[in-house]
Amino acid sequence: MTALLAGIGAVFEPSVLLCLGTGLVVGMLVGMFPGITATMAVALASGFTMTLEPVQGLAVLLTIYVAANFGDRIPSILINTPGTPASIATTFDGYPMAKNGEAGLALIVSALVSAVGILASMVLFASASVPLAQLALKFGPSEMFAVVILAMTIMISISSSSLTKGLLAGVIGLFIATVGRDPITGDARFTFGIRELNSGLDFIAVIIGLFGIAELFDQLLTHRDHKVQPISALGRWWPTRSEYKRIAKPTVISGIVGLIVGVIPGAGGDIAGLLGWDRAKSASKTRETFGKGNIEGVAASDTASSATLGGSLTTTMALGIPGDSVMAVMIGSMIIWGIQPGPSLFVNRPALVVTITTIMVLATLVTLGINLVRMPMMVKLLDMPKHYIWATILVFCIIGTYATTNNLFTVTVMLVFGVIGVILKRCSIPAGPIVLGLILGPLAEANLRRTLLIDGPAGLINKPISAVLLAFAVIAVVTAIATPILARRRQKAATVQSN
């Protein structure tokens, strides 16, 4: 009890609240800027927070983490450019909604469900960190491989119009993921003597290229044909009562997905967003409009990816193993402040755990409040003439991508993928499965080969978690292939009968 009060009280110091405010401003700016990630911001901020008190420093860093997660969604919805991988799935329905004149609604729903996701995950963090962290340790290479294979089956569902084109896109994604050094032997693959390609294609550059730049090029090429409004028609802001009801189910389903994925080390907001979107789609009554501007899709992807925050905090604090790249930087700072993350943190310093939870909750609520208030003002920016907007976005994308590596090569990669994106668009090959292949390919490959190194082929099935997950994946693929065949057969039988 005293720990609870002390922990909460520690946050409500003027200096800590000031730090929280600082983190908020930095985080929101970072989130909106495509290419600049929360990891980068936290890493740079950790240089300045080193000399602060631990609680003050945690307030800055955790608030950046939370606020960036909110800000991320805005460019995804308004300009089809995911600020970070975590908001890839947001573009699936968010941007079509914006194109349909529902940008305001999409932004508000996204902010609301992101808050729900984070708060739900913080409940889990505060109540069950230590046992959950132990569960997380059960995920070794073979289990990770099984999770990734299961996640790959959603390629089927995100291939909106044509399954063949969707799978083709998925394979393209898997192929570009092999560029770089072999994860086990370290041999160069498809690098063609270009030094930069040794570390693979920069992921952020590829997604900004495929989504944002491709959209921009597309607008450039078509602006004479017909008037594509950049989303100045924002429509309504607040959801109606029936819309609240509609988003309740996808929020709960994808929230659970996000909580589970968050705890698995090495799987983060990007995978959770895609999986959550997929699960909500298959449970939805309005499945066919997913990907065309369905509000349930926005709710699902953003709840799921936000709900991973508590999960990564769990493995970070309860094991000392960073749950994502932001947390890796955070651990470094915590150790400097003399805080040793690990199981003993919860035993020896319960007040600090309460403080961390309080900071996260407070940061979430304040960010949500500010987001709801400022959205109309911010979105006004998009009322500018289209040629100014897209030109500005191009400049921002270039600066943001350059900042990831300080190397123009990365910008080139982004622009090349912009061109590829336009070509694919014209062939109506979806970009979603490409990104999925790009995220999951390296994870699948490296974990499969680790499993084989450790245990040989038997390692894939002699562990209960991986065996069950792989069985699910097989069922998912078989049903996906069998359902249309069976339906056709039934139809044939019906026509034969009626004849």
Binding site: L137, R181, G320, A446
Partner: protein, 315 residues
């Protein structure tokens, strides 16, 4: 009286201000007279970045100019190394040179150790071998003995790293059957050992310190010349009869041909930085040890390491 005091103070302030304005013009031809760029071969957040920023902060204080840290990650660091090699050798572009200086050339990168001026080694992060707390092995001897009859898996932070080399060399030296399993970074490698998916892990001191302090990992050996302050009671490999040292060391380098007078100023400034308390406070919590070797000695060390890794990686 009061008025005259006021005038006196104003005059003093004006004089000081004038002096401050004048100083740079005296210093124009003396190194350094403009900002220094410090290139880091890794992204913000890791051990290289942490050490570099700590060094840069000390150099800034000592030299009186801005030292701007620039992260240029990619291709095992060789993107940054190549960039530095192309800059003018005037001392205004320096960088962080990690253990990859001794490895890159052996794993197919276009990299030549001779293209650089070696200023000083500043740190070392020794490799440790650890097992889960409930593992039957308590000493390096027991572990290697068991690995003679049964194949044991050892996770590490990545292919062709100092950590992977440690496992490989240990296995070759003793005939123990150890399978190195590369992961994507030190943290997942440690997690795999904690979860019991592999029999042991070779990782940096900093990455294992948390689990060691919590009692969830047993550290069997540390591959360094001397005991590590964070691992009380842990013997070095040498003390256990295996004369092996492995570390993720690093130093400060610049393009080849930095003039001797500039080199001396930088070397001296780096030497002071490494012995400063603020530098220590910034790096030791991450398991990094301050190690100072002046430029020539560090170069000799890099050459020796490169020869050693050449042999190990040629297999």
């Amino acid at each position: 009286m009061k008025l005259s005091k006021f005038f006196m103070q104003s005059a003093a302030a004006a004089a000081l201000f004038g002096l401050a304005l004048a100083t740079p013009s005296f210093a124009q031809d003396k190194f350094p007279s403009k900002d220094i760029t410090f290139v880091v071969q890794a992204a913000a957040g890791g051990a290289s970045d942490r050490t570099s920023r700590a060094i840069a902060a000390e150099l800034e204080k000592d030299l009186g100019v801005n030292v701007i840290v620039e992260n240029r990650p990619g291709a095992t660091g060789t993107v940054a190394f190549a960039h530095v090699a192309e800059q003018p050798a005037d001392g205004y572009t320096i960088g962080f040179g990690p253990v990859e200086f001794a490895i890159a050339e052996h794993i197919g990168y276009d990299f030549n150790r001779e293209n650089y001026t070696y200023l000083a080694q500043v740190m070392d992060s020794p490799v440790v071998l650890a097992v889960r707390a409930d593992s039957p092995y308590n000493t390096l001897e027991e572990f290697l003995e068991a690995a003679k009859t049964e194949e044991l898996s050892v996770s590490n932070s990545g292919a062709a790293s100092a950590f992977a080399a440690a496992t490989f060399t240990l296995s070759k030296m003793t005939g123990a059957k150890l399978t190195g399993v590369p992961f994507d970074g030190g943290a997942p490698a440690v997690a795999a050992a904690l979860g019991g998916h592999v029999d042991a892990v070779t990782a940096g001191a900093g990455e294992t310190a948390t689990a060691f302090a919590d009692g969830t990992l047993k550290v069997l050996a540390i591959f360094s010349d001397k005991p590590h302050p964070m691992f009380e009671g842990v013997k070095t490999a040498k003390e256990q009869g295996y004369d092996l040292t492995f570390g993720a060391w690093g130093g400060v380098y610049g393009p080849a041909g930095i003039p001797d007078d500039v080199k001396e100023i930088l070397e001296e400034s780096i030497r002071k930085a490494v012995s400063s308390q603020t530098f220590l406070d910034a790096i030791t919590p991450a398991g990094i040890l301050p190690v100072y070797r002046p430029g020539d000695e560090w170069k000799a060390f890099v050459d020796a390491e490169a020869a050693r890794y050449g042999e190990m990686l040629a297999q």
